[in-house]
Assembly symmetry: D3
């Protein structure tokens, strides 16, 4: 094909490259979800992105999110009609410890050798030796929470034991783990200071499954999780907050915290019936008192935060 | 109607008044159970009554009841053939903390707008602005335990969040909560020092239900609870003790405590097989030893109690 | 009391009578819900009433209702925001046989001897020998469906065996039974031609419960049932339709039947994609065709019904 | 860009075209799985393909498969170590009727408006008006079985009512339905002669979900289903047979049928202990008798089949 | 040992023989329960015995028992305080078909190779080739019902497929099967006319278990079953009747049948409230009427039975 | 019988004695499993035996076993194809406290008075006053773990309350309790420092069951437990280790501990991906580093252990 000089080849190459860049799955995994897909489907992300394309909720917002509870997230998401972002029914490893971080998602399906064989071959072509839980775990970043769809599997559905749990803690800087499946080595895991939410515990290592996607959309209980969602876990369960709502959730939570503070203060005075104070004071004077309290405390909060920030 | 002079009118008025006084529901609520009904159906109550008609187990007996465990209540009620006074299967908020108090009952049913509309209208006629969870909560008294039938509802079945839970603690002086339903804000609730028994936790506030009765007979699991029952909760579950059995339960528990004390002391000596000591010593000398121990300890207990009482 | 002459006595008597008539529970049962309460809380009933105060959905509408399915009821009630009128999860005795009738409700609670003793005494004062399942069953009328809250009880929660089931069939003219509890003698019951919905089956007769109300509001699963509701049961579950919606449900069902008829006819032609026909034809000509079909068939239906009616 | 003459443009165009042809999802759906992906991952398919890329198990094999039972499929797949191709725990609509056909898969996830908005926009760019259950249903072919992942959802998880169920029957020529979710209008569906396997029934139409993939790999219970798998359903549950094993399964089933025939015949003689005959005759004469029977019956079977085939 | 002449040796031999005869397990199975044990523990058996030591409820009583239902058995056993002879929660293969026969029990436990190895060796010493489900099945007698404890196991807990189910039918003359475990080949089994009660269905053959006892006491749900018990299964569940109560159960059932007959006849007249007739007529004339009816029908029944018996 | 002189009588006596010694159940209990049976079925036991015939895993190995976790046991047993030695799903009394000891097994079945009556009579002949939970408990030895099959019974299935739990702690020197059933007096039990695993808690004392075997093979969940097994319980569940594998499990656990130690140390360095280190280092230098570490630490461990031993 003489006609094609190098310049043309470059162009063709580019078009093919573009084709591959945006469409090609990260690991030739069964469930395709390219970096471009991720960017397209999280287009409302107001923040920057991680190199793998995931929205990057900024570190300082993640820090602020440590004060969140399920109810505070609920309020904002409910108003936006995002009712499927919450999952519960987990065993909570450290009930007093809030989990906060960016969702790094992994999907498994029941092993099917013909399909897995193709995926493994494709992976090898891309220089990936094997497709397994560690393939995903090795890609974790600081600030991540590992979110795994193992379809509720107990036996053979143990995403990590204590060694890999320790690694996840190191790699994510204590981010956390949510698995719709199980863990093993609970005895060892219990001593490691990272939040974790799992369905069950089993001594058998992971088996009879195939890893079908890294950073693809996954379902955890009744929640649809996108890579890069802000994950917030407390004693009750786990919220997956789309990045576009993070700022509003945090600002709203500030008000809720102050509102709770004031409400309990008034209750502690022992002079009021609950309905005179909560949820909104019945009396206009009390409403004004609250408004002033809110204003003052918000200012204090902002000052505190400003003081904490490095210049 | 000339015939009716004022005196007669008074009489008629009285009869009508009586009719209303005893038959009219407290809040024109769907499930009628008037003060007179309450008095009739708890006629065996040996103590005084609260202004709302509930039996008032005396404060000092409530204090003594803090030492009770499920088994001790079981023994007396079983002998009386009261087998339906126990409920378990709850999440226990503070497993080490016994719950004791007088049952203040609330009943909810699935919302039905035609019925609820009538109830709300009737309530307004009696000066009640709304029929909702706070309507009941605002009536709580020191020493009460709030007992709520929310028919096991999780989503939308959250009787309180942390603010109202805090209010309940203040109003009942730390009495407690039993709900055949859920709570929200577990993160906040966990920090509040009041016993609580609930089926589940959910971030959604209470919704899609109607309050159908305050201080009416309610069912919690397999137990029938009457307003004013002594509520006793430990790690296992919750007992609802009819007032007429409270004194006997407490006296019997004194003996059980001493029996357990002595039994363990003998076991600790390491000289006996369990059946030589428990439940009744086989040997007559040991039986006598126990009887003397029991007598001595009972006297000590009574002396201690007398000493504690204000003169 | 000389002052009171007979006329005055009559007046007082009347007021007391009124007081008793409207407030007094039918059987001095634990859960009060007088005839007047029933009338008040079902004030939207557009039909007449049975002697016991229940709304009386007319016989011809009950006959028409035999053609209803769950989905058709759902549509109207959903639009009215009556979302808690459906219960499922039952064993269905005769899956092919629709159940239709007026709700006759009965409530049981776990036996509590002190309370039950008072109720039985009160009942005796009103000439009722015993408070038990047959007390309620003996009051059933033709066209009734017996709706029983036995709080899901299996063992000892058997509302009827085959003898009483046969009696219910006779008394209600084949109305039906819904019990949030169990039945016994399934072998015998299976041979009797009356629809029945129950949670489970057990050989033990009813025991360890007390009947706490006849024709009171009851909860069956997540539904609030009022006496006189139109009960509609099919293979899926049971709807409890407030009387004020019965006419609209039936008229709407006529249209749904015709719509389904036409839709399936068009599908059978094999020329259309489902979305071209269902739920609304995309094409304006098809829409017109449907409108004409609907009009014609509605007229036919009405003519048929008119023909059936006795003059 | 003068340099690019038309010939080169064609080449570039082709490469881009190829890029789109093979990588672009069928409906710009959230879960990408292009025709080329499908071809790659089902590369062991020994048969032709449908226009949408799915393996096409031939019609005559599908007919033969009507005689299969779960156990017969199990035997071959077990030997191949394909242990995750079976799902059970369904309500079976017509227990006596075997379901056989080619898997047409559909995946749903809990609704998430930001993601669904992007998918809908992308779909519109490709000329698809809406992404919903009917989008998939309208693509069904004769011989298909509709296989739907609705993640076990009951309320709002009803893939079809009786109208669309009727359409599916028409479009697939009675193929069938497997849904890890629910159906509505069971009353109407029960009268339609097509096999169906569902988890539950509910009167609410499908809602609060988004369709995320058509003919993508899906999980049904513990089975991984690929588009084009041979679906075989009997009273017990459903098998999803990879096309490469279909011939072997059918041939093996012929032998199993004959083996069962002979075994029962021998048992019916009443002369043998079960272990003398089953699973393999202990006696060499009996083994020989069986071998001859097998040979004869296999020949008869083949002759029958040949006779049935159109020339 | 010269001292021992042959006569003495015979004696010793006899004592050893007796020792082995009565103590030695039938198949050197893990759970010992010798013929003598069986005779000792069923000493109240009023009938003869089968060669294996099981009580032999006579054939004519078994025939009469076909008319029994669960409730009728319940009544007699309840009176005897035998409350643990009933099991339910099964899938019932042929709901309209009563199961009646003598319990032939088999017990399995989770496979443990060290223990199973010893059992198999011991079995070989007694001429038993293998210990497996067919070892037991091959011992079934006409009139037996196979009762199997497979501890609720679904996967790998399938006691029979259709071939062995057919054998059991042949060997027991249609007796029946109760398994606290599963069956396979339901498609084939459903066509065979023998009653069966099982927990679940699975395509995997029995595996990963060891047979630990034949005709030993077994637990099925909450029932303790002894070999030779009369097994009675109807739509509800299964009763295991100790032989000593069989006659009384049957006689009592005759009266119950007549009582039900008469009760329904009176109900059908439409003149009585249920409580006037059932369970005992309130009116003395009716009571007399019933007594006469009972007497007459009992005589008829006896005459019919006598007529049926071969002379 | 003149012929038999005393010497002969001795011989016969011996043979009968042997017969009884080895065949006779310990307590004439329903489920026979003689000392000889126990010895036969645990023939692979490499250690000595307790006087009751149970294998006696030596005390120092029991001490070493306190460091075991479920996973470490799993690894060795899995390799031996002993997959049914693990049970979970328990409430764990003291989650941080490992349970280790020799299995002392007890079996209960639902009470059946005819059978129990025979067993009690036989027991009395052997000088046993009653067959009940304390009969077994009184036989416990230091180092035992009480393992009880109460077939998952909650109500009436409470093996111990706090008094007997205290006794078990004293008698076993803090060994532990595993019950497939319930306990009572949780309030009191929670204060006693002994590990316990139970299914549920209930206030009713044990009732309506009969003790059918002491130190017989029992099933706990999916595990077959033999008397004398090494019981190891951690936060996850309980392993029952056949004595013949104890040494290997412990030696293997030493390596696992060191491997985990080294793996976490490398992870803590933050230089490696998980797959570079775990489960086996990819790099040969790292592999060598690990081998040297392992060798050194094993030597240290052995030295430590030698130092601890009394000379």
């Amino acid at each position: 094909m003489k006609l094609l000089n190098s310049r043309i080849l470059v162009i063709i190459g580019l078009s093919v490259w573009a084709c591959f860049l945006f469409r090609q799955p990260a690991f030739a995994q069964l469930i395709n979800f390219s970096k471009q897909d991720l960017i397209d489907y999280t287009a409302q992300n107001p923040f920057g992105r991680l190199p793998d394309g995931r929205p990057k909720v900024p570190d300082d917002l993640i820090e602020r999110a440590r004060g969140l509870s399920s109810e505070e997230v609920w309020e904002v998401l409910q108003n936006k009609h995002f009712n499927n972002q919450y999952a519960d029914g987990f065993q909570v490893l450290h009930p007093g410890k809030t989990m906060v971080g960016r969702a790094f998602t992994v999907q498994f399906m029941p092993l099917r050798r013909d399909v897995d064989g193709v995926a493994e071959s494709k992976a090898k072509e891309h220089g990936i030796a094997r497709l397994e839980n560690q393939t995903a775990i090795d890609l974790l970043q600081p600030g991540d929470v590992l979110v795994v769809d193992l379809f509720g599997k107990k036996v053979d559905g143990t995403i990590v034991g204590d060694n890999l749990f320790y690694y996840v803690m190191q790699a994510t800087h204590g981010g956390g783990l949510v698995v719709d499946g199980s863990v093993r080595d609970l005895q060892g895991i219990a001593e490691i200071d990272m939040p974790a939410y799992f369905r069950s515990v089993d001594p058998n290592p992971i088996d009879n499954v195939m890893m079908t996607g890294i950073n693809v959309p996954v379902r955890i209980g009744n929640a649809t999780v996108m890579p890069g969602d802000l994950v917030v876990g407390d004693r009750e369960g786990v919220y997956f907050v789309p990045p576009q709502f993070v700022q509003e959730v945090l600002d709203s939570a500030d008000e809720t915290h102050i509102h709770d503070e004031w409400t309990k203060k008034k209750f502690a005075e022992g002079k009021y019936k609950s309905s005179e104070i909560y949820s909104t004071p019945a009396d206009s004077k009390l409403r004004q008192e609250y408004q002033e309290y809110l204003k003052k405390r918000l200012q204090e909060l902002r000052r505190e935060r400003a003081a904490k920030k490095p210049d």
